[in-house]
C-alpha cells in the first residue's frame, strides 16, 4: 500500500529530473553555445519572466489567443450547427468546406497579412482560422447525429426550427463540440506563436525572434518552457471545466 502510493507518486518524476541533470551536465561541459545548462535557463526564466516579459509579451499573447480562440470557436459552432441540422445547407457548403479544411492554417498567413496588415487583426484571424475547422467539423457531426425522435418530440410540442436547434440539436452535439474545442486549443497556441514571428512588437513569438537574433539561447529556451507550461495549464483547465459540465454525457 505504502509502496504503491510511493511508486505512483515518485516514478513519474524520475525521467524529467534525470533529463534536467543530464542537460545541466551536458550544458556545462559542451563548448557549443547552443546548449546552455538548465541553470542558465532557470536564471533567464527568473530574470525575464518575473515579471517584465510576462506583462510585456505573455499577456498580449494570451489576449490574442483568447480572442482568436473565442472567435474561431463561436463561428465554428454556428456554422457547424447550420450545416449539421440542415441537409440542404450541408449540400451547398460541403465541397467548399472540404477544400478550406485541407488548407494548413499556417499557409493562409500571407493572405491574412495582405488582408489585415501586420497588426493584431491578422494574428487573431489566423488563430481563429486554425480553430474554426476542428470545431466546425465536430459540431456538424454532433448535430447530424442528433436522434430524430428528440427532434420529433420538440416539433410535436410546437417548437420552431430555431428553438429545436437551440434547445435540442445544440445540447445533443455538446459532447462532440467539446471534443472539437479541445482539439482547437493546441492549434490556437501554435497559431499564436507563428503569427507573432513576423512583424510583431510584442508577444511570446516576438520574444523568441528577439532572443534568437541576439543569440540569447537561454532566453529562447525559457520561452519554450513558458509555452510548454502554458499549453499544459490550458489543457488542464479545459478538462476540469469539461468534466464539471458534461456529467450527463455518459447517458447520451
Amino acid at each position: 500500500m505504502m509502496r504503491s502510493a510511493l511508486t505512483t507518486r515518485v516514478l513519474p518524476w524520475v525521467a524529467p529530473l534525470l533529463l534536467l541533470v543530464v542537460w545541466e551536465y551536458a550544458g556545462r561541459h559542451t563548448t557549443s553555445i547552443y546548449l546552455p545548462p538548465a541553470s542558465d535557463v532557470a536564471k533567464a526564466l527568473r530574470e525575464d519572466w518575473m515579471w517584465e516579459h510576462t506583462t510585456r509579451d505573455l499577456l498580449p499573447s494570451l489576449k490574442r489567443f483568447a480572442l482568436g480562440y473565442l472567435a474561431g470557436s463561436a463561428l465554428g459552432i454556428l456554422v457547424g450547427l447550420a450545416i449539421g441540422s440542415s441537409r440542404r445547407v450541408a449540400q451547398y457548403t460541403g465541397p467548399t468546406l472540404e477544400f478550406l479544411r485541407a488548407l494548413p492554417a499556417v499557409a493562409v498567413m500571407p493572405v491574412a497579412i495582405l488582408l489585415f496588415g501586420l497588426g493584431d487583426g491578422m494574428r487573431i484571424s489566423i488563430i481563429a482560422f486554425g480553430v474554426l475547422f476542428p470545431v466546425l467539423v465536430n459540431t456538424a457531426a454532433g448535430a447530424r447525429s442528433c436522434r430524430q425522435e428528440r427532434i420529433d418530440v420538440a416539433e410535436m410540442f410546437g417548437l420552431s426550427r430555431l428553438q429545436v436547434i437551440r434547445r435540442v440539436i445544440l445540447p445533443s452535439a455538446v459532447p462532440m463540440i467539446s471534443a472539437g474545442l479541445r482539439v482547437g486549443l493546441p492549434i490556437a497556441l501554435i497559431m499564436m506563436v507563428v503569427s507573432e514571428l513576423v512583424g510583431g512588437k510584442n508577444g511570446i513569438g516576438f520574444y523568441l525572434t528577439q532572443a534568437q537574433s541576439l543569440f540569447d539561447i537561454a532566453g529562447m529556451f525559457s520561452a519554450l518552457v513558458i509555452l510548454g507550461v502554458l499549453g499544459n495549464l490550458i489543457n488542464w483547465l479545459y478538462v476540469r471545466v469539461e468534466t464539471q459540465q458534461l456529467h450527463w454525457g455518459a447517458h447520451l
Partner: protein, 289 residues
C-alpha cells in the same frame, strides 16, 4: 351482458362527438418503398380510450406520427375538431415508443417535464412549476425532480415521458406502445397509473389513444379497440369493450367477457391474414378500398 362486436353499433353506444377523424390515410416513405398504411379510416370520440392493436411493423408508429402532425401522409387526412391537421396541434401530445431516445439526457426530470411549457409565454413561472409538480405527482415521481433520466429505471423514465405529455395539458393524449419495453410487473403498475391519471384529469386529456401490440393490455384499458391488419395496414375491425369500471388487474382480466373478446381478437388477427391472402372477404371490416 351483451357486447356487440359489430362496428355498425359502435355509433349507438358512444354518444359523444367525434374529436379526431382519420380518413383514407395512406403513407409511402419513398416512391420506391412499399405502402405502409393503406387507407386507414376511423374516428375517436371525445373522452374515449381507444386502443389500436396490430402486428409489429404494420405501421402503428407511422400512423401516430401522422396523427400528431409530425409526419405528412402521402394521401388522406387527419382532422381535429373538423380541421385538417397540417402541423402539430397544441391540443395533442404524443408519448413516444422509445423513452431512451425521446427524453433529453442533459435535462433533469423537472426540466424534461417543463420542456413543452418553455415557449408558452401565457404561463407565469409559478404556474409552470405548479403544472410540472402536478404532472409528476400524477405519475408518482414527486421527489425525483433533480435526477437525470439516465439515473432512473426504464419504468420511471417512461413515467417521466408521460408526465411531460401531461404537463402540456393536451385534450388528446397519444401513446405509442408506452409499456412495450418494461417488465410485466412494472407494466401492470403503469397501466393502472394511466387509468388513474385519466380519472383524475378534470378538463383536458380525457381522450386517449394508445397503440399496442399487446391484446390483453388493449382490452384491459380501452373503451374501444381498432384492430389493424398486417402491412400495409388497414382497419380490420373495430370493437367496443363493455367491461365494468373501475377496472382491476385481477377481476377484469378473469372476467368471462375479457376472455371472450380476447379469443375473438386472436381470431380476427389470425383470420385477417388468411382472408388477405385469399384476396379479401366481405366478412372483415377493413376500411380500405
Amino acid at each position: 351482458m351483451t357486447t356487440s362486436l359489430e362496428p355498425t353499433q359502435v355509433e349507438d353506444r358512444v354518444p359523444a362527438r367525434t374529436i379526431l377523424d382519420v380518413s383514407e390515410l395512406r403513407k409511402r416513405y419513398a416512391p420506391d418503398r412499399p405502402l405502409v398504411c393503406d387507407g386507414l379510416t376511423f374516428q375517436v370520440r371525445e373522452g374515449e380510450f381507444v386502443a389500436i392493436i396490430g402486428p409489429s411493423g404494420c405501421g402503428k408508429s407511422t400512423l401516430l406520427r401522422m396523427m400528431s402532425g409530425i409526419l405528412k401522409p402521402t394521401s388522406g387526412t387527419v382532422s381535429l375538431h373538423g380541421r385538417t391537421i397540417s402541423k402539430p396541434p397544441p391540443e395533442m401530445a404524443l408519448v413516444f415508443q422509445d423513452y431512451t431516445r425521446s427524453l433529453y439526457p442533459w435535462l433533469t426530470v423537472e426540466r424534461n417535464v417543463r420542456f413543452p411549457l418553455a415557449k408558452d409565454k401565457s404561463l407565469s413561472k409559478a404556474e409552470k412549476a405548479e403544472r410540472v409538480a402536478r404532472a409528476l405527482d400524477n405519475v408518482g415521481l414527486t421527489g425525483f425532480e433533480s435526477y437525470h433520466p439516465g439515473a432512473l429505471s426504464g419504468g420511471m423514465q417512461q413515467r417521466v415521458s408521460i408526465a411531460r405529455a401531461l404537463a402540456f395539458q393536451p385534450q388528446i393524449l397519444l401513446l405509442d406502445e408506452p409499456f412495450a419495453s418494461v417488465d410485466a410487473l412494472t407494466k401492470e403498475g403503469l397501466e393502472d397509473t394511466l387509468l388513474d391519471v385519466r380519472d383524475r384529469m378534470q378538463d383536458a386529456g380525457k381522450t386517449m389513444l394508445m397503440v399496442t401490440h399487446d391484446i390483453d393490455e388493449a382490452i384491459y384499458l380501452a373503451d374501444r379497440i381498432v384492430v389493424l391488419s398486417k402491412p400495409p395496414c388497414m382497419v380490420a375491425e373495430e370493437l367496443v369493450i363493455d367491461l365494468p369500471k373501475p377496472r382491476n388487474q385481477i377481476e377484469t382480466r378473469s372476467h368471462p367477457e375479457f376472455l371472450r373478446i380476447r379469443a375473438h381478437i386472436h381470431d380476427v388477427m389470425g383470420l385477417t391474414d388468411q382472408r388477405r391472402g385469399a384476396g379479401g372477404s366481405p366478412a372483415t371490416h377493413g376500411k380500405g378500398h
